[in-house]
């Protein structure tokens, strides 16, 4: 755990000075806060002494008579340390004002530095997480779900930030406050302060028991609470299913039972927590009664008997009451911080899990910086998503593709089509065998160079918020409008751009929500073309485009980019029938390789797919997808 905390603290960096200086301000503030009741008691005592006409049972002269006496030295005796000095009322008041001013300054400065340190750390931590996630390979990404990564970067960072600020502001302050208060209590009340020495362990132990028992239940119950809310979410989004199958009562019953069970646990925990208040009150009251009764006795005895072994004044007794409350409150504060810190452990664990994750694919040491051509060759490639997986996603794949060829890949859902193409640009690494692009093993290329030369249009097409142009320039940062136009023309995306009033500068909403599936697909292809890759892979990238346009796009790619290797994964046979080579995949293995005509004759799976799409008549009019 300590290692994980250290890892996260690594993000403090340039804000370290603030993180160090904050506790110093806080210590000063605590120190002043502790000394102030002492000074206040001195003020009360010296005025009391100044206006009285007797002392220790003997008559004496009144010292404070006119306003000018504010500067007159008065005798002040300290019980705890047993010294007597002369003070002036004015001097005490001025000291108090100065102390309050200093405390205010420290408080404000400490508040500022604490904010700078913790917000700075949060910013760095978010940045570090972002960079780490950007370095992830596909395998790393698969390990964490997107939703969980988002939570880690938002909610978890927030709770760690809170805990961090708590640490630098209070973790040091609260125990110090307790110690200072105890010291001051000894200075003010001498032996009387022992009352607190006895009471603190008692309350600390009580609090510990409460926290320990309640936390266990709360942690459990919060998980169930989250589950319950998940089930609400499930229900809201699946309401049509619920209503269609008339399952309202069933769902209600399920929810009510879960909610009732949870409430039982909540009540149990709350009953324990409710003991907190009486525990605190009891100790405070007990300490008050002890202080007052013992104090009265000592004051009385020392008044009548100047040689009595203990000595106490009224002001000192009242400051003892204040210190008592301060000490006990610090104990409470410490227990609350403990709870907060324990609560944030889960967030710390989840964040460090991301930070500790090693990217499975990194650049080789002496990377090759140039891709010669678009030749691809698979040599006995096998691939598993996880080392522990029983089944291979791909087994014994061997195939050669020449630069400029058009290759189609077909196969049913889960047959390994996407897995196969993802290996080419090294989105995953092979488990066995090797893949060569331009006669060089992909693992020897510089990653950026390789991926710039192998363009993949993914199955799940994503546009990013911005403009059409900003999205297209992902392919090439310096692309001119001319270049963008040319790319768009090849894949028939120009009509989408033209249909928008602002052309290339038309806004794109988050996730490209303001474009239809077919439009998004065409823009994504244009984005890939702008990279001027040597190999282009279309992973079911025209599924939402109508067959006619689909055909035109293929024609465009073929005619305008003849030297580029084109690999097309499709569900429609019509999309790949004119390919130079069609690979039929089945259950992670190559079932057959050949041209449309060859496969139609020899490959049973290919025939089945073909007839499923061309049931009526033998014409080329393929089905819509």
């Amino acid at each position: 755990m300590w290692k994980k905390i250290k890892l996260i603290l690594g993000s403090v960096r340039e804000y370290k000075k603030y993180a160090i200086i904050t506790p110093i301000f806080m210590i000063f503030e605590a120190l002043i806060e502790c000394v102030m009741p002492f000074m206040m008691s001195a003020l009360i005592d010296s005025v009391s002494f100044g206006v009285s006409t007797t002392y220790n049972g003997l008559p004496k002269e009144r010292e404070l008579n006119t306003i000018a006496d504010i500067f007159k030295p008065i005798q002040y005796t300290n019980a705890g340390l047993g010294f007597t000095i002369n003070v002036t009322v004015f001097g005490l008041m001025l000291t108090l004002v100065l102390m309050a001013g200093l405390s205010l300054t420290c408080g404000i400065l400490g508040g500022r530095t604490a904010a700078k340190a913790s917000i700075g750390m949060a910013t760095n931590l978010r940045g570090d997480l972002y960079r780490k996630i950007q370095s992830f390979s596909f395998a790393n990404i698969d390990k964490f779900s997107s939703a969980s990564l988002v939570t880690r970067m938002t909610t978890d960072v927030q709770s760690v930030t809170m805990a961090f600020q708590m640490c630098i502001r209070i973790v040091i302050r609260a125990p110090l406050m307790m110690i200072f208060s105890a010291i001051m209590a000894f200075i003010s009340g001498g032996i009387m302060a022992c009352i607190f020495v006895v009471l603190v362990p008692i309350i600390a132990f009580g609090l510990f028991l409460i926290v320990k028992n309640a936390m266990g239940i709360f942690m459990r119950v919060f998980k169930r609470y989250d589950k319950l809310n998940e089930s609400v979410e499930e229900n809201v989004s699946g309401i049509r299913v619920v209503k269609s199958y008339v399952r309202e009562d069933y769902e209600k019953q399920k929810f009510n039972t879960a909610s009732d069970n949870m409430t039982g646990d909540f009540v149990k925990a709350e009953k324990i927590v409710a003991l907190n208040n009486p525990l605190l009150n009891t100790t405070i009251h007990v300490s008050n009664i002890l202080v007052v009764s013992l104090g009265t006795y000592i004051i009385y005895r020392s008044t009548v008997d100047a040689n009595f072994w203990a000595h106490l004044t009224i002001g000192q007794m009242s400051s003892l009451l204040t210190y008592g409350i301060q000490i006990l409150m610090s104990v409470l504060m410490i227990s609350m911080i403990m709870v907060m810190l324990v609560m944030s452990i889960e967030a710390i664990r989840r964040i460090s899990e991301v930070l500790e994750e090693e990217p499975t694919i990194v650049n080789p040491t002496n990377p090759i910086k140039e891709v010669k051509n678009g030749d691809i060759s698979f040599e006995n490639v096998s691939f598993k998503y996880k080392n522990t997986a029983e089944r291979n996603a791909l087994s014994n794949i061997s195939v050669d593709i020449k630069s400029g060829q058009f290759v189609g890949i077909i196969g049913s859902t889960g047959s390994g089509k996407t897995s196969l193409v993802n290996l080419i640009s090294r989105l995953y690494d092979v488990s066995e065998g090797s893949i060569k692009v331009g006669d060089v093993d992909v693992r020897n290329y510089d990653l950026k160079v390789l991926r710039d030369n192998v363009a993949v249009v993914l199955q799940k097409n994503v546009l990013f918020s911005g403009t059409i142009a900003s999205n297209l320039r992902w392919g090439n940062k310096e692309a001119t409008e001319e270049e963008m136009k040319r790319a768009c023309k090849i894949c028939h995306a120009m009509e989408i751009v033209n249909a928008k009033q602002e052309g290339f500068e038309s806004p794109v909403e988050q996730g490209g929500a303001n474009f239809s599936g077919g439009q998004k697909q065409r823009l994504c292809i244009a984005r890939a073309i702008l990279k001027k890759p040597k190999i282009m892979i279309l992973d079911d990238s025209t599924s939402a485009v109508d067959t006619k346009t689909d055909k035109l796009i293929r024609k465009g790619l073929k005619e305008d980019l003849p030297h580029m290797t084109k690999i097309v994964i499709a569900q429609r046979i019509s999309s790949i029938e004119e390919a130079d080579k069609i690979i039929v995949l089945d259950d992670g293995r190559i079932n057959a390789v050949g041209t449309h005509e060859e496969l139609l004759k020899s490959c049973k799976i290919y025939q089945e797919v073909y007839y499923s799409q061309n049931r009526i008549g033998g014409n080329n009019a393929a089905s819509k997808n």
Partner: protein
């Protein structure tokens, strides 16, 4: 789909506080009343504790430093000098200190009990009420019409169950008792302070006003930056979400550096806003605390001036009390007590004002929750019910308790007789008009006849109204005009639950529920046996992939089955419909994510299952519907072409163009 209403985070409706408190007191009258009593007593005990302590201090002060002769200790006790003996001899203002302390102890004991009891009661009542509230809300939600779900964002509904309900919890368990406590304490303190000295009370009031003012200024500025911070948090989170969801695209385009740069910019802006907001929040505490300190010093100074300026008389309720050289020390004793009280006064005012935020938030949350509970549930005036039947030798319908796969509509009449109409699956839409918002017609004069056992296909672009038609058949929405008849019965007369039970629906977006694969298939019919579920999975061609899952049919699906592919989810959804075995089936893009070869296998199973039953099919992939008896081509809510595949192709109209791929169906 109708436009989603943008919810304004408005203030609470009037009367929300009253409504909430009323329901609370109605539910737990005795517990709450006793809790309030305990709170009052607790405040009283706490205050008297400090007043007692002060009283004793004052008394001692008088006796140790007497300004009036005769009040001081005269060494009256005899015997040993031990604690008990001495204490019992100390008598001040005619009260025995020991007795005082014992009284104090008793009040403390009761105070502690009261504190424990109200804390416990409020916590328990809160949990019990939250449980009721949550259940009531969920149960009501289940009864709401689909329209409610269409017009409210799911995130918003969720936020009722998470954020809003939590603000109510805080309101009841924290804000309410704390406010009561602090309010009472302020009143008590104020009275006690006025009894001691009105001049000094004025000093306290001036300082309190200063405290309020500073809270308002700092709080106002903090709020401004806080809003900015929240807005920026939303932007940063949006960016995080977008780039994590599109992470694979970023990798493919080696766009990591640019994305990081963009993120850093947003992140740094957030840093600036958040730091400012946080600083403001952090300094409020020290400022308030030190205003309290200054108040203490100021009070002491004023008291000192009163003490020494001749003619500056103390003012209490009994009138001016001159401060003479005789009662100087008495007055100083009063000042000591006052100082403590004024600090308590300020603390409690602070406490009180801190609760205001929680109250406002709680009320806004409660108002939104009440809003949900005030929504009118789906109305159902249907009285025709669905029953299982058998036929006797003469072909007469006999109602059966068993599942017979034969159904009839049970139609009670006003004269007490009951007639049965056999369920055949004859569905007629008769000149139907429909609008989501009451103005814009989504369906115009749509008429469809589905004879028993026919397969009816609905084709058209997104938004043409295909799904709307199916939503009208199962009465998710009421018609605007026209009629829908089911076996000749107007569907408004059929009980909604029974109507829906007779329709098996498979939707494009598959919703799976937390539970095992088996549970999810069984969702179609709760009393289905494991064998029946497996049989259904085989029909849907899902058996193979389910067997390959780590625990087969017992594999737990978490998070809406996110570990399954879209195609697999659709197969499960079809299995669910197969298990339900409803007489009429609606397939809304049910196979859109399944590859054509698998689809064909599924189709075979489905055809077998649906033999002799009416099926409505919506599909993009025209190959799926080529064998339909009737194809309705919809455009902008109107049926523009109808016929079977061959006649429509021959017609060379819209359908023909779709089929040959001239149009994009998006």
């Amino acid at each position: 789909m109708p436009p989603v209403r943008i919810r304004e985070r408005a203030k609470a409706k009037k009367g929300t506080v009253k409504r909430l408190l009323k329901t609370l007191f109605k539910l737990y009258p005795i517990r709450l009343s006793f809790a309030i009593f305990c709170i009052v007593f607790n405040v009283f005990a706490n205050l008297s504790s400090s007043i007692f302590a002060n009283f004793i201090t004052v008394c001692i002060s008088e006796s140790v430093f007497p300004t009036t002769p005769g009040l001081g200790p005269t060494n009256p006790f005899v015997g040993s000098h031990d604690l008990v003996n001495v204490m019992s001899f100390i008598t001040i203002r005619d009260t025995n200190v020991t007795k005082l302390l014992i009284a104090m102890g008793i009040i403390y004991a009761f105070g502690i009990f009261a504190a424990w009891w109200w804390n416990r009661t409020m916590a328990i009542v809160t949990q019990l009420y939250m449980n009721r509230f949550r259940k009531e809300m969920f149960n009501h939600l289940q009864d709401l019409p689909i329209k409610y779900f269409d017009t409210h964002k799911h995130g918003e509904i969720m936020s009722l169950f998470t954020n809003d309900i939590d603000t109510i919890r805080q309101f009841i368990s924290q804000a309410l008792p704390t406010m009561l406590q602090a309010g009472l304490a302020v009143v008590f303190c104020f009275i006690a302070m006025m009894l001691n000295s009105i001049w000094l009370t004025l000093v306290t009031i001036v300082c309190t006003i200063g405290m309020f003012y500073s809270i308002k200024i700092i709080g106002g500025r903090a709020a401004k930056f806080f809003m900015k911070q929240q807005a920026q948090v939303a932007t940063v989170e949006g960016n995080i979400q977008e780039s994590i969801n599109g992470l694979k695209v970023i990798k493919v385009f080696t766009h990591e550096e640019e994305s990081t740069k963009q993120f850093d910019e947003l992140n740094n802006t957030l840093k600036e806003y958040a730091t400012t907001a946080n600083i403001h929040g952090n300094v409020t505490g020290p400022i308030n605390m030190n205003i309290g300190n200054f108040m203490y010093i100021l009070t002491a100074i004023v008291a000192f001036l009163m003490l020494l300026i001749p003619g500056f008389d103390n003012l209490t309720f009994t009138g001016f009390v001159p401060i003479t050289s005789e009662n100087m020390s008495t007055f100083w004793g009063i000042v000591i007590a006052f100082l403590m009280m004024s600090r308590m006064f300020a603390n409690n005012i602070n406490n009180f004002s801190q609760q205001i935020t929680f109250i406002v938030m709680g009320m806004a949350g409660a108002s939104r929750c009440f809003d949900l509970m005030d929504q009118t549930p789906e109305v159902d005036e249907g009285y025709v019910t669905l029953v299982n039947i058998t036929k006797d030798k003469d072909g007469n319908i006999v109602e059966s308790k068993e599942r017979t796969r034969m159904f009839a509509w049970k139609h009670p009449h006003q004269d007490g007789t009951v007639t049965y109409t056999e369920l055949k699956g004859d569905i007629l839409l008769d000149h139907v008009d429909f609008s989501y918002d009451g103005n814009k017609l989504v369906l115009k004069d749509v008429s469809i006849f589905a004879h028993p056992g026919e397969k009816i296909a609905l084709v058209g672009a997104t938004g043409a109204g295909k799904t709307t038609i199916t939503n009208l058949i199962n009465r998710f929405y009421p018609l605007k005009d026209g009629k829908v008849r089911y076996d000749g019965i107007n569907i408004n007369k059929i009980k909604k639950d029974d109507l829906r039970r007779s329709l098996g629906i498979v939707l494009q977006d598959v919703n799976l529920f937390t539970g095992t694969v088996m549970d999810n298939i069984r969702y179609g019919r709760l009393d289905a046996t494991d064998e029946e579920c497996i049989e259904a999975a085989k029909i849907a061609n899902a058996h193979d992939f389910i067997q390959r899952l780590p625990e087969g049919y017992n594999t737990l699906l978490a998070g809406d089955g996110s570990n399954l592919s879209q195609g697999q989810r659709q197969l499960l959804s079809i299995a669910r419909a197969a298990v339900a075995d409803a007489p009429v089936t609606i397939l809304d893009e049910a196979t859109s994510s399944i590859d054509t070869r698998t689809e064909r296998l599924v189709q075979k199973g489905m055809d077998q299952l649906m033999k002799g039953r009416t099926v409505f099919v919506i599909a993009h992939r025209l190959s799926t519907i080529q064998n339909a008896e009737a194809i309705m081509v919809l455009d902008h809510g109107e049926i523009i072409e109808r016929g079977n595949h061959d006649t429509l192709i021959a017609k060379k109209g819209y359908y023909y163009q779709l089929y040959t791929g001239a149009f994009e169906l998006e």
